[in-house]
Symmetry: C2
Subunit: 543 residues, 2 copies
């Protein structure tokens, strides 16, 4: 921790990067950081969650064998802010609201901390759920009444899927990479998206994207001498997974002033810096569209990234889970595989893993835990090792596998469900674009706040220029300043957002991540509450 | 590897344990082992799986950055025989059978390698699937036609489950430990089973039991100086997970001669032996009913195990996924928590984790990937670390969570589904008992084969006294003798079993694991084919 604070302080002095609002408090901030060594880790994870039997278990008086001193220090080091302290406070508030409604200036908790659309009222795509229900209880397919309850193409699709499963057994473990017929559908979907061939044997189906990321980290990291280049700000799955596997996160800073631009010069600089510390960088993680930053990379920029990876011998880990979430007409999602192939780089030229999830997009099927990684450019003996690790957990869940295949092969023109599917899809995506725009504009109107546009993904990541008095108050509360702000916001409004410190950020800058996911009819009230809170916060702490 | 062979040789000389058939070939076997250092690892994992793009990728000529030399050596060390080489050969045979039917002396592959009941024709429990379908496509609940298609209690249950999910959103991420209302149902089911209280806050729902085991290994293992006592033979999830997390598997040998008995003297001996090597043993893993060994522990034996863990300060990792699979009237499943509580040991006395899965029992919902671990006797600060690690992957899949709650709270007398549910359940369990008995008797009739009874679980683990000529032939083929036997069995009959070397075994003894899961009408043909093969194998190699 001490070392981190010192390196933070060094960065603070050295840094030239700043969000667009000027900061005048660097020295005092530096002082406060050095005085309060816990300030950056405290806010990230310190809930007291267990109210029953475990809460009676005093941590020191017990004679139980497992203590914080005896467990794996990599677990201790791991942090995951998206479900950290603020969410725990919110959960307690929510419980308390049920009985103490009058004690709070709000009547509900609005979870803007996590990309979890259906928890905020987004409806699932009907066709997907029809197919899932039919595959869950296949006896329905033999009943004539089913035809009155389900679209005809959902029935056709369910039959087609069942025909691809040996014995039609949706309750059986599948091939460790997932059911072959479903991987065929995914590969066809990738081909249709990219215009380049995709191989079903390259697909490893996973319970969401996270287990795929863990699998690759496990493969690539042997010790703290192995580094992974990660964007800062980053989605904390990356820092958590690298910590759990004992590697080194090599940060590259996205440039907030240019809309969170990814600069090759920054990659080069950080790679050299890591090398000088004896770290072998194994891979570059890119999140596109960005999380928490919402930018969509240009194809030209992506080409430069591909060339950089090729030249430096890095695996390109492409987090492309927001590929369907692009909201601005001047940007378009391009998969890194398409970009690499269009540059003439094939299977033998670049090692590339693309992660996809059913949790995002317009479908938002987070709870179903489905996803896949497309693994290209690895020798067969290394791929066998990936297969082996996948085999230890037998397979990902079949409902998630089915949904992943549907997401990559939705209804087509002429299908019974097509019109309603398109209406549902476009309704969700256009509403997300509207919400993003409304929230972005509202945030940019707040004193001392600047917010880049959400070109894609599901988040806004505004920069808050906090008054020095607020920073001092945070210090007194042993909390990072942005966490201090977020806690005050929660207590005043019931709105849950995640402090920028949970994603890492340029030292001395403060942000929070807020999803664009509350339903449209809730947005005006959120804007009002946020605006009112911010004004009173600034009034209270204005220097 | 060399060290392993030498230690094997040492064990072979020292050993007093033997399966009940006498062996006369120890010295020659020893010689063969020393001559063939690869003999024990080769059979476990060496498939060539990738037939398309990757197969063009010669392992050495590539300029790709990732090589076997550069990846995490823990991944290389990990082995998982249940989906190892023999299964890969079987998959290739199955593909080839489609076009070359006449080339083989059998017309189908029968997968007895893995506890995957529905892949072999076992039907899912209707009530469970009805509830799952209704929760997958909730619009069905508003349709009057649904009442003609579903049992009334499945509709009631679906409503009850939806009411426990915030916003009825089955597509949302849940609490990191699983949906609270479902954990309530599981805790109530544990209470009903054990007669002792269970706390929903102790339940961590997981995608099958495997991720729970990984999570505990990750928590408990910091380095190779941390040991986990594991039964030998063991389910290879344990050896794989310990290898991936970089710990030491400390073996304790089950006593085949006493029906795979678990002797406390053996635990003590191995614990002392580990200590003398500088290994701190953190936990004891017990699989009850046993996998691959099928024994059901007596309550008295379990009490001794609990006392041993308490005295030695070990976490008791109780793999209880086969708790519903007991086939003999003189044995009964007792959870370790019930045993510990009945001894007067509470939350502050012993650290105990019980793993449960929806993949086993009479339900066999492997593909749905559901399960939970009940975590008791940990301080609140350590539990928070477990919660944090669970949070990094957000939550287990909701379909699996729903099934886990159903498995622990099935229909009750008076419910619409009760009679059919009981008929389905008892039909499956009594048939499994019959199949176990038939296969056990058939195996015991084979020359040089002895097989303990399957009191529980889903497997038989016969000991084969292989002729010396067969051992020599295996050596020439650079294969472990039991793997040699299993490959010959596959090629002659299409029956897939797993060599004992994949589970580890007393050196110099040879076994295979065969599930009891093929449907009853297939068992006579399996017995005939196995008997005929074994006779001709023995005729070919008899000394």
């Amino acid at each position: 921790m001490r070392r981190f604070v010192i390196s933070q302080a060094k960065n603070l002095i050295d840094q030239t990067r700043r969000c667009r609002q000027p900061h005048h408090h660097s020295n005092l901030r530096l002082l406060s950081l050095l005085r309060s060594p816990a300030s950056d880790s405290t806010p990230v994870y310190s809930p007291r969650l267990f109210s029953s039997s475990a809460s009676d278990m005093s941590d020191s008086s017990s004679s139980l064998p497992v203590t914080l001193d005896s467990i794996n220090p990599k677990v201790l080091k791991c942090e995951y802010a998206v479900r950290g302290e603020i969410v725990s406070i919110a959960q307690r508030l929510q419980d308390d609201l049920k009985t103490n409604k009058d004690a709070y200036p709000f009547d509900e908790i609005i979870y803007c901390n996590i990309g979890n659309p259906q928890s905020l009222g987004q409806q699932p795509i009907t066709f997907f759920r029809e197919v899932l229900a039919l595959c869950s209880h296949t006896a329905l397919l033999d009943e004539s009444a089913t035809h009155g309850l389900f679209s005809s193409d959902s029935i056709d699709r369910a039959w087609k899927i069942l025909d691809q499963i040996p014995g039609k057994a949706t309750g059986a473990y599948s091939h460790s990479q997932g059911i072959k017929g479903l991987r065929d559908a995914i590969a066809a979907g990738i081909e249709a998206r990219d215009g380049f061939p995709a191989d079903p044997n390259d697909i490893f189906m996973t319970d969401g994207a996270s287990p795929g990321v863990h699998m690759m980290m496990q493969l690539l990291i042997s010790s703290e001498k192995d580094g992974i280049l990660c964007p800062i700000p980053q989605y904390p799955l990356y820092s958590a997974s690298i910590a759990l596997h004992g590697g080194s996160l090599v940060p590259y800073y996205l440039d907030e002033a240019s809309g969170w631009g990814l600069e090759i010069s920054e990659l080069k600089k950080q790679l050299e810096d890591a090398k000088s510390k004896g770290i072998t960088v194994r891979a570059l993680a890119v999140i596109n569209p960005g999380n928490p930053t919402g930018q969509v990379l240009s194809e030209e920029n992506q080409r430069d990234v591909v060339d950089f990876c090729k030249k430096e011998g890095l695996v390109l880990l492409a987090d492309e889970v927001y590929q369907e979430n692009v909201y601005v007409p001047d940007k378009k999602f391009h998969s890194f595989k398409k970009v690499a192939r269009s540059m003439g780089y094939g299977e033998k030229d670049i090692s590339l893993v693309s992660f996809q999830s059913i949790s995002k997009g317009y479908y938002g099927e987070c709870g179903k835990r489905g996803g896949y990684m497309e693994v290209t450019g690895f020798t067969s003996d290394v791929r066998e090792q990936i297969y082996k690790v996948a085999s230890v957990n037998l397979c990902s869940n079949i409902s998630g596998q089915i949904l992943a295949s549907l997401v990559m092969s939705p209804p087509k023109p002429g299908d019974d469900s097509y019109d309603s599917y398109i209406a549902e899809k476009e309704g969700i995506l256009s509403s997300l674009a509207t919400r993003a725009k409304t929230l972005e504009e509202a945030l940019n109107k707040l004193e001392g706040v600047t917010c880049n546009r959400a070109e894609g993904a599901m988040y806004l990541f505004p920069c808050i220029n906090l008054p020095q008095k607020a920073i001092a108050a945070a210090e007194a509360a042993k909390t990072a300043p942005d966490a201090f702000y977020c806690k005050r916001l929660l207590n005043a409004t019931g709105i849950v957002v995640v402090p920028g410190s949970g994603f890492r950020q340029v030292p001395g800058t403060w942000h929070f991540r807020c999803t664009i996911l509350p339903q449209e009819d809730k947005i005006p009230a959120i804007v009002d509450r946020l605006t009112e809170f911010h004004k009173s916060f600034m009034d209270e702490f204005r220097d």
